[in-house]
C-alpha cells in the first residue's frame, strides 16, 4: 500500500472514531447538561462520518488499487494526491472548529473559518476527481 493511501486510511479511521464519539456527545446532551456548542455539532457529526471516514477511506483505496495511469506514473500525480489529502483534512478540521461557533454566534469572525473550510474541501474534491479520472479506464 503506498504511503499516501496509508495516510488516507489511517486518518479515515481516526475520523471514524471521532465521528462516533461526536454522536455519543449529541446523545449525552439529552441526559446531561452540556455546553450549547454540543447541540450545534449535528452537521459536524454527519460530515466527519461521510467525508472524514467514508469518502477519505474511498480516496485512499482508490489511490492504491485503481488501474495504473501509466507505467511511469502508475498513480497519476502524487503531488495532486497529497494536495487532496491536506485540503480535505484542513477543510474538515476548520469546519469542526468553526461551524459550532458560527451556529451559536452568527456573524462572528469564525464565519471566515467556515468559508475557508468550504473552499478547501471543494478543492480537495476537484483534485481527487482530476487525479482519478485518467485511472478509470479499460485495460
Amino acid at each position: 500500500m503506498p504511503t499516501l493511501s496509508r495516510w488516507f486510511v489511517k486518518t479515515a479511521l481516526v475520523y471514524f472514531v471521532a465521528a462516533l464519539l461526536t454522536g455519543v456527545a449529541l446523545m449525552l446532551r439529552l441526559v446531561l447538561e452540556l455546553p450549547p456548542e454540543v447541540a450545534a455539532l449535528q452537521p459536524v457529526y454527519f460530515h466527519l462520518l461521510m467525508v472524514g471516514w467514508v469518502s477519505q477511506l474511498i480516496f485512499g483505496v482508490v489511490f492504491w488499487m485503481f488501474p495504473k495511469y501509466t507505467p511511469d506514473k502508475p498513480r497519476g500525480s502524487e503531488r495532486l494526491g497529497w494536495a487532496t489529502f491536506w485540503l480535505l483534512n484542513a477543510g474538515l478540521v476548520l469546519r469542526a472548529v468553526g461551524e459550532p461557533v458560527v451556529a451559536l454566534r452568527p456573524g462572528s469572525s469564525a464565519g471566515w473559518i467556515v468559508a475557508a473550510s468550504a473552499i478547501l474541501q471543494m478543492l480537495a474534491g476537484w483534485a481527487f476527481v482530476a487525479n482519478t479520472w485518467g485511472r478509470v479506464k479499460e485495460r
Binding site: 461521510m50 471566515w112 467556515v114 473550510s117 473552499i119 474541501q121 471543494m122 474534491g125 476527481v129 479499460e138
Partner: protein
C-alpha cells in the same frame, strides 16, 4: 476494468465534483452569508453525494471486482447493469432537480422509485456472483 464500470465510476466522480461544490456553496453561506437561496441546494447536495457518488461508486467497483463466472459471460448479463445505471441516474436527477426546482412531488417520488428499481436490478445481477472463486 470493464467499459461499464468506467462509465459508472466516471459518472460517480462527476457527482462527487458537483456535490462537493454544492456543499461548499452552502457551507460558505453558513459562514459568510451571501445568498440565502443557496440553502435550496441542500437536497441536491445530499442526493448527489449519497446516491450519485457513494452508492454509484460501489456499484461500479462491484461490477468490476466481484467473482466472475467460468462459463458464459464472465460478468453475467451486462444489460441488467446498464439498466440499473440508467435507472439510478434518472432517479438521482429526478429526485434532486425535482426538489430544487420545487416541481410537483410526483417527480421526486418517481426519482426515488427509479433508484429503488436500480438497486433491485443491480442486486439481482450481483447475487449469483457472490460466490467462491472458481465455481
Amino acid at each position: 476494468m470493464p467499459r461499464l464500470s468506467v462509465w459508472i465510476i466516471r459518472t460517480a466522480l462527476l457527482y462527487l465534483g458537483v456535490g462537493f461544490t454544492l456543499g461548499a456553496m452552502i457551507l460558505f453561506q453558513k459562514g459568510v452569508p451571501y445568498a440565502g437561496g443557496v440553502w435550496r441546494l441542500l437536497p441536491m447536495h445530499v442526493e448527489f453525494l449519497l446516491i450519485g457518488w457513494t452508492l454509484q461508486l460501489a456499484m461500479g467497483v462491484g461490477f468490476w471486482i466481484l467473482p466472475r463466472f467460468i462459463a458464459g459471460a464472465p460478468r453475467g448479463d451486462e444489460r441488467l447493469v446498464w439498466l440499473a445505471y440508467a435507472l439510478l441516474n434518472a432517479g438521482v436527477l429526478s429526485a434532486a432537480l425535482g426538489q430544487w426546482l420545487r416541481a410537483p412531488t410526483i417527480i421526486s417520488l418517481l426519482g426515488r422509485a427509479a433508484e429503488v428499481l436500480a438497486a433491485a436490478t443491480f442486486a439481482f445481477h450481483a447475487w449469483p456472483r457472490i460466490k467462491p472463486h472458481g465455481k
